[in-house]
Structure formats: C-alpha cells, structure tokens
Subunit: 340 residues, 2 copies
C-alpha cells in the first residue's frame, strides 16, 4: 500500500533547501526524485568566485562570501565561510516558512524494507504535527499514524505544542573503525526531546520552522580560536533548544534517516581532556539559563542569550566572547533584513 504524500505543491513552495558546499554537488543527482521540485539555496564555502556547478534541472540561488558582504554589509562578519556553518547565511536570506538543510555528502537512505526514504516527507510530518515537550509519551510520537498516547497520559496535555525543529538522523556504513558517528541502526521512531533536556544537534539532516525559531538557528563563527572539542552543531543545538523550551515549542528527533557516505571523525578521544574544562561551565549554563518573560520571540531570546553568554562565559574562554558578539551581529543582520 502506498501512502499518499502529505506534501502538496503549495506546501512544497513554503520550504527552501539550504546547502553549503565547497565544490561538488554531485550528491544532488541521487536526491533528484525528492528535491527536483524544491527551491535550493546554495552557499559556496571559501573565498573563490562562484565555481559551484549545480546539476541541470534544479531551481536554485547561489551565494558566496561576496554576495553576503553585498547583502549584509559589515554584518557579514557573523557568517563563517570556512566550512558548513556558512549555511546560516542561507537560513537568513530564505524567504520561506520552512528550511531543510542537508550536508553535501549525504545520500538517500533506505528504510528496512529497502525503499528510498523521502526525507522531506517525514520532516513535514514532524513539523506539521505537534510535539510533546512537557510530558513524555513512551510510545514515541503520538501524532504519528497508527500511534496514540499511552494509557494514563494526561488528557489535558494531549494537545501538545507547535513543532519548531525536526532533527533527522543519519546512517553510515560499518567500516570496522570504532567511531561515535558510525550509526548503522534504523530506529523507527520520532520523539520529542523533553523540555529542560539538552541535545547535541547534528546539522546533517535538519528541518525547522523559520517563522517560529529562525533567528535562533545559527551555526556561529567557527575555526577562529574555538576551544578544543568545541562543536558548532552542539552549540547551535544548545541555543535553539533552550529558546524552544522558553517559547513553548517542540524539538523532535529521529526519522527521517539519510545516508552519510563519509562521516568525519573530528572528535578523537584526545580532545576529551581539553573539552572538559569549558564543558563544565558551558553545559550547566545552558541547563540553568532563564529568559525574561518579555522575551517572546526567537529574535529577542537569541539577543538575550548572547548577552548572558558574554556575561557568564567570556571568562571561560575568549572564544565565547567572540561568539556572543557574532550572535548579536547575527540578530542585527536579521533585524535589518526583515525590518521593512
């Protein structure tokens, strides 16, 4: 039985696919059946003139550092062009309600029955149904077809909260090398990360509602004096999660899977000891952060967060001072772009 797709043309028009790349977009060929009708925003990493070749037939805009400087002026300094954190620029310039971002080394994954997974179909299912951040449903996403709330789940909590983030996972090939990124297990579940709980976000396969939380989805400035073991995706996840919790919107994690062909192994154990010194300050900061009641938008929350980080984490490592300034610049850029 083939389930009818929930993705109508008008829904599809509300989403941009944001991809950052240092060169080849060959991976798009495999995605053609699923992405051909979407609009792509491609951000070229590095300082070169535009050299990215997009496979024929895709509808896209292509930006590089020069474009960012033209559009953002001096605020362009908050955008990293050295790696995939440059995708933040794509989030900023998109005019759509929803964003889907995917790494340029990801292929279409197969479900356990061998069928190609339409990642966006599942991301839309996640985003268009509520989350359950304030009470955990042990049968996982209760809004999924064929699932329900478990017996005893409080009736008054069954309306759930709007979903702001859909955090997809990835599968990769077993290669005999022990690694914390080599996941081979397909788990047929979507869960809401409960309120108050932090996660390490992965930007490989991620969708979000830009209207709800766009200003809080920022991958920061990277490779500029960051402490050992610091990870821009972890950082983005900490920021977005505490803001979602404050705003009363949900973060889901789980399906859909993509296939990660060459998972990097950037976190060697050798970094562990160095990371511990800042982690022990940074994680508790996020576990305890409180926003003023007046902060009622992602934009306000993110600016407030940048101030608290400046005040409380600058002493941990000078990098956090630099990062907090970049966060404030990001919000300034956001404000200027959407002022009118």
């Amino acid at each position: 039985m083939v389930e009818p797709s929930i993705v109508t043309p008008s829904l599809r028009d509300q989403l941009d696919v944001v991809i950052s790349t240092s060169g080849s977009l060959d991976f798009l060929e495999g995605w053609r059946p699923f992405l051909k009708n979407y609009h792509l925003i491609i951000v070229q990493e590095g300082d070169s003139p535009k050299t990215v070749k997009v496979p024929d037939g895709f509808d896209y805009e292509l930006y590089n550092r020069t474009d960012a400087e033209r559009i953002l002026g001096p605020n362009a300094r908050c955008i990293t062009f050295k790696d995939s954190a440059s995708r933040s620029f794509g989030f900023l310039v998109s005019k759509k309600k929803y964003i889907f971002t995917i790494d340029d080394d990801c292929l279409v994954a197969k479900d356990p029955l061998g069928k190609d997974i339409d990642a966006l179909e599942q991301h839309f299912k996640n985003l268009l149904t509520p989350s359950t951040p304030t009470f955990f449903n042990t049968l996982y996403d209760p809004y999924r077809e064929g699932v329900d709330f478990v017996r005893g789940y409080p009736f008054s909590w069954r309306e759930g909260a709007p979903t702001a983030v859909s955090h997809g996972l990835s599968l990769s090939k077993p290669d005999g090398v022990a690694s914390n990124q080599k996941n081979q297990r397909y788990v047929d579940a979507v869960i809401t990360i409960p309120k108050g709980s932090l996660l390490s976000l992965n930007g490989t396969n991620l969708a979000f509602d830009k209207e709800l939380v766009g200003p809080a989805m920022y991958f920061g400035v990277v490779r500029e004096g960051q402490p050992a073991g610091f990870h821009d995706e972890l950082w983005a996840g900490l920021c977005i999660k505490v803001i979602c919790d404050h705003l009363g919107v949900g973060v889901k994690s789980g399906l859909p899977y993509v296939w990660h062909s060459k998972a990097s192994n950037s976190f060697a154990d050798v970094e562990k000891e160095k990371a511990v010194s800042w982690e022990k300050e940074v994680i508790p900061f996020f576990q305890q952060v409180v926003f003023p009641k007046e902060a009622s938008t992602a934009q306000q929350c993110y600016l407030e967060l940048s101030k608290q980080i400046k005040g409380k984490l600058s002493g941990v490592d000078p990098y956090f001072s630099k990062l907090s300034e970049a966060m404030a610049t990001w919000i300034e850029a956001w404000g200027k772009l959407y002022a009118s």
Copy 2:
C-alpha cells in the same frame, strides 16, 4: 550469531519476579524457558484463601491478604488487594536487589526476526548500564552494544547515572478497535527519560533496582474513591520519576517488549472531561515538586512526597488525602520490615 547471555546464575539470584493474579497463572507456561530459573513472588488478589495454582516446576512464594496482615499488621491497609496494585506487597517482601513485575495476561513477544524475546535479559542490560538523564543522546541508549554517544555529546556527561528503572513496553494484536493501548509497532530502542520530564508508567513489564528506589515504587490504594480517570500506574510513575530525578538516578523506557493478549481499555474518552479537573493540579505539582537536600534516600523522599501531597493536593480531591496517608503507611511498613 547468538549473543551470549549477560545473565549469570548469580545475577539471576539477585532478582525476584513479582506477579499479582486473580486466579490463573497459565500464562507462565509460555514464559517457562525464560523464567524457570527465577524465584517468583505471587500475590493473590481478592479476599479468598489461597486458590492460585502455579504450574509445576516454578520456584515461588504465594501471598494473600491474610499473609499481608500477618506480616504488616495494621500497615497492611496500604496494600490494595482488589487489583494488580497488590503487587506492591510483593515488592515490599522481596529480599532481592532487583524486581521484575509482569501482568498475568502477558505472553512472550517476538522480535522483528521472529525470535522470542527474553525480557529479563534486556531488563538486566538496561539496569546494569548507566542512564543519561541530564543530556539527551539522539542515538538512544549509548551504552548498548554497537551504539555510542553522538558527535558533540559532552565528554563530561558520558559517565551517565545509575539506572534505577527499566520500563518495558508491550505489543498487542490489531483488532480494528481504536484504543490508546493497542500498540503494534516494535521500536528497537531504549531511551533515558530525561531529568525533569514525566511519563505515564505502565506496570505491565517493569523492572527496577529495589536497593536504589524500592520504597518509591508503590501502586497506591485503588478503587477507593479515586477520581475519574485516575490511574494507579500514572501515579506510581509520577512519584518514582520525580524521586529518581532528585536522587540522580535514571529511568529507561523502550525494549524489551512483551505481548499483551487482552489489553484493557479502561480509559474511555468519556473520562476525559472529568480527569481534566484534577490533572490540571496534579501534573503541575509533580512538574514543580522540590525535595530538601537532606532527603537522600528513596524512603526519605517518598515520605516527604506524601507530606507535600497532603498539603497541596488534598483540596483537589479527598482521594489525594487518603492516598498520601497510604503512602506514609507504606513507608512505615517498609521501615518496620527493614529496621533490623
């Protein structure tokens, strides 16, 4: 490839299987391959003399209301003998470190490959490996074989916390009737319910570490004036979860599955409106409850919880006053039994 069992004879001797029943224990036949070497504690529901027939070859103790009164004296009033909440008595009299409890209408479930699931093997895996209550691992239980922490997961948080509760799930037959208890999906995952998040516990297939949290695993007094929609398992889950959170120990949920042959449908929608009135007081109470730092054992926490419930929930419904008294009696019974 057959994985060697982690359950050694000496580990098996540290666990009691607690079953409450109103009569037939025929279900044990199917469990024989898995339970034959365990000690069973059987609690007979109702007021009759002992009439329960245990299939040959099982090692067991059988208790009824008369035994409870002999052993606990007047404190026996905290034990319900009208339904499966009578299992609490079994938890109390067990001398073992670990308890596994299972409903007497549950059969052995099969995994997706058609293999019978050894529920206790999985419960031991859950209980003997740490939990991750303070930081969510998006690849689920990182201590499971073949799984790890996701990239970026803070190193300092990777030791985890001791696991106190292993909450197994159940599968049931599709019967065309819409019901919140008819789960047909096998999800190959174990997750830690994060600190600060509540769940609706199900006692169908549940294991816990009695040394860590035994006094907090109590199914209360039921069928005695409880408000519409009140559910003893939800209540037990709320109490045990806030106490686990305070003690810094973990609650896992997910695998193993059992097969629930006749899932009752006690929660009709008609109860929804009536439940809302007490839920709106009771759930926020548990979301906000704070224990004094001096409360460092499950016993102390549970007594403290009974006092707070008396103070804050008695006005919601007289049942909560009765329940708080039963909770205090339970702790008194516990104290007397383990005083020497």
